[in-house]
Symmetry: C2
Subunit: 383 residues, 2 copies
Amino acid sequence: MALDFTLDAQDTETHARAGRISTVHGEVLTPAFMPVGTQAAVKTLTPDEVAAAGADILLANTYHLYLRPGLETVRRMGGLHRFMSWNGAILTDSGGFQVLSLADLRKVSDRGVEFRSHLDGSRHVLTPEDAVRIQDGLGSDIAMSLDELVDIETGIEDVKRAVDRTVDWARRGLVERERLRSEGSGAMALFGINQGGVHPAERRRCFEGLGSLPFDGFALGGLWVGESKALSLEMVEHDCALFPESRPRYLMGVGHPVDVLEAVARGVDMFDCVLPTRNARRGTVFVSTGRLVVKNAAYANDSRPLDPECACYTCQRFSRAYLRHLFAAGETLAMRLASIHAVTQMVQLARRARAAVVEGRFAEFRRTFVSRFESGETLVAPA
Amino acid sequence: MALDFTLDAQDTETHARAGRISTVHGEVLTPAFMPVGTQAAVKTLTPDEVAAAGADILLANTYHLYLRPGLETVRRMGGLHRFMSWNGAILTDSGGFQVLSLADLRKVSDRGVEFRSHLDGSRHVLTPEDAVRIQDGLGSDIAMSLDELVDIETGIEDVKRAVDRTVDWARRGLVERERLRSEGSGAMALFGINQGGVHPAERRRCFEGLGSLPFDGFALGGLWVGESKALSLEMVEHDCALFPESRPRYLMGVGHPVDVLEAVARGVDMFDCVLPTRNARRGTVFVSTGRLVVKNAAYANDSRPLDPECACYTCQRFSRAYLRHLFAAGETLAMRLASIHAVTQMVQLARRARAAVVEGRFAEFRRTFVSRFESGETLVAPA
C-alpha cells in the first residue's frame, strides 16, 4: 500500500502546494510544521497542548528512543502513540543524523553505522535494515531511510561515496520493509532522503537512484548545515524540480519562519525543527514582527501578550511582564508558556500558508508576512 | 466588613467541619488544601491546571513577590490575580516566615524585621504595617499578620517575648488595615497567627491577645517544625479548642495526607504545603496506597497510572512507565505531570473529607483512608 497523498491546490505564481496525507492516525494537512518530540515528548508540553497548537503530526527521534526507554519498552506499552498518549500522526527519523551528531566513536561502513551510546557508552550497530525495523517497532506512521550525511567541507569524492551509500541504504530499507510486510507488519510509509550536499550534480545523481524506488515521499537532506541561505534555497529549488508532484516533500531541520515560507514557495510540504522551541525555552520567541527576547527588562511592565496577533493559550492569557517575571524567577512555567507560543506560531504559519495557497493568494501572503516579520517593530518598549 | 464564613456541617464523632468562605474571587470550600504559588506560579503549572485540580484558592508568598517582580509591577499589571491569570481566591502569607528562613542578616526588633534580600543583598525593613500594606497592594483576598517565629529549641523566655511581639504586631496590622479602609482600600480579610511553640500555656496566652481582636480567621503557626507528631496534634487540639467556631482555622505549612486528615479531625479548615509538589518534581508522589517513587526502575514497564483511583489528567492519560521514562530522560514534562497529580491528590483529599463531613461519615472516611494509605501495597512490581 502506498501513502495516500492528495494535492488540494497549487499556487500559480510560485511552486507552493496545499495537500493532505492520510495516515491511520488521521490526516496531515500540508504544508505542515512538525513539532519535535525527541524523547517521546515535545519538550515541556503535553500532547494535548501540541494538538491545541494545531499540530496533526509530530516527529520523534529513533536514536533517542532506541537507547531510552528502548524499543522493547515502547512496544510493551503499546507503541509510541499510546506510550506518549498522542493520537495524531508520528514521523520518525532514521536515527542516522543523531548517531553522527551525538554518539561517540561512530564508524560508518557499507554495512551501516557503528557507535557508542552518548548515555552509557554501550556499543551498537545501526544498519539500514535495523533503522526500518526499529521505526516499525516504535509504531511510526512515516519512517525515514537511513542515509549518510556529510559535512559542508567534505570533498567531492567523499560526497559521491556518501551519495552511493545513501542510495544503497535506501534500497535496502525498502527491501526490509517488504520483508516486514510479508510478515504482516511494516505498514508505515517510508521516505527516501536526497543527499549530495550543495552539489547539484550529486543531488541529481542521488535522486536518479532514489526516484526509481517506490518511496512514499522524499526528503531534502544535508541542507541548512552552514551554507549560505541563497545556496540552500537553490538546492531546494533543484530537488523539488526533480521530485514527483504526487509525493510529499520534506525539508529536514528547517524551522525559521522566513525559511519555511521560502521553501514552501519552492514546493516543500513538510518541515521540522527544534529551533523555535529551543529558543523559546531560553526566552526568545518569534512573533509576527520578528524576534522577541521576552527576558529583556524592557518588558518588565508590558501588559501586552507576546504577540497581539497570536491566538495561542499563552498570548490569550498572559502578559509579556508575567513571562518576563517567570523567566527572571527561573520558573519552569516560563519555558512552557513560551513553548506553547512557539509551537503554535510555527504550526499556524504552515496552516496560514496552506489557506493562502488554497485561496490563490500565497504570493501576497508570503510578501506581507516576510515584510512584517522583518519590520523590527518588536523591540519598541511600551509607553 | 468581616469575612463571610459559613459552617455547612460539623462531624459528630470528631471536630471536623465543612464550611465555605466567600471572597470576591469566589467561594472557598473547606476543608481546603491551598496549592502554593510562591512566585506567582504554582511550580510548573498553569492556573488552569490548578483550577482543573479542583483548587478554588491558592497561596502566594509576599516575601518573594515583594522582592521580584516587586509590588509596583504587580500593581501596574492589575494585581496578582490578573498578573498570574488566576480567577480564584488568593491567600498571601505575611513574608515573615520567608524573611526568617531565606533572607540574610535579619534583625528582629519591636519595630519589625530588617533583612537583606537573598537575591541581591539589598537591605529592607518589613514592619507589621508594611506586611499588611504590601499584601493589600498585591490584591490578596486573605492576608496574614506579621508574626515572630521561634526555633523549636528556643528557651521559654524568648518564646514569651515572641508571643508578646506577635500579639503586638497582629494588633498593629489590624490598625493599618483600618487606616487603609478609611482610604478606600484594605478590603482583604486578615488572619491572626497563634504562636507559642509547643508550650500550651504560651499558645493560650498568645490567643488571649489575638482572640479579642477582630480578625477574620486564625492560623496555627510554629508547628510541624521538628517536634513529634503527637505533640503537633496536641497543639492543634489545644488551639482549635480556643479558636471561635465562627472563624476559619488555618494550619500553616502542613501537607502530608495523613497529617491533613488528623488536623481536619481536630477542627482545622485550611492547609498549605509545598511538600507534595516538591516531592512530585523529584519523582515521588502520594497515591491512595502511600508513597510511590515513580523514578524507580520497577515501573519501567508498568502500564498502570500513578494511582488507578485518581481522576487527574496525569492518571487518566499516562502510565507509570511513561512517567518513569520522562524522569529518567530529564524531561520537564515529568515534573509537570507529577505535579498535576500531586496537587489534585491533595485538593481532592480535602474535598473528599468535606463530603464525608457533610454526609456524616468522616470518621469512617478517615479510618479507611489512613489504613489504605499505610498499606504499603504501592511498591509491588507489575506482573
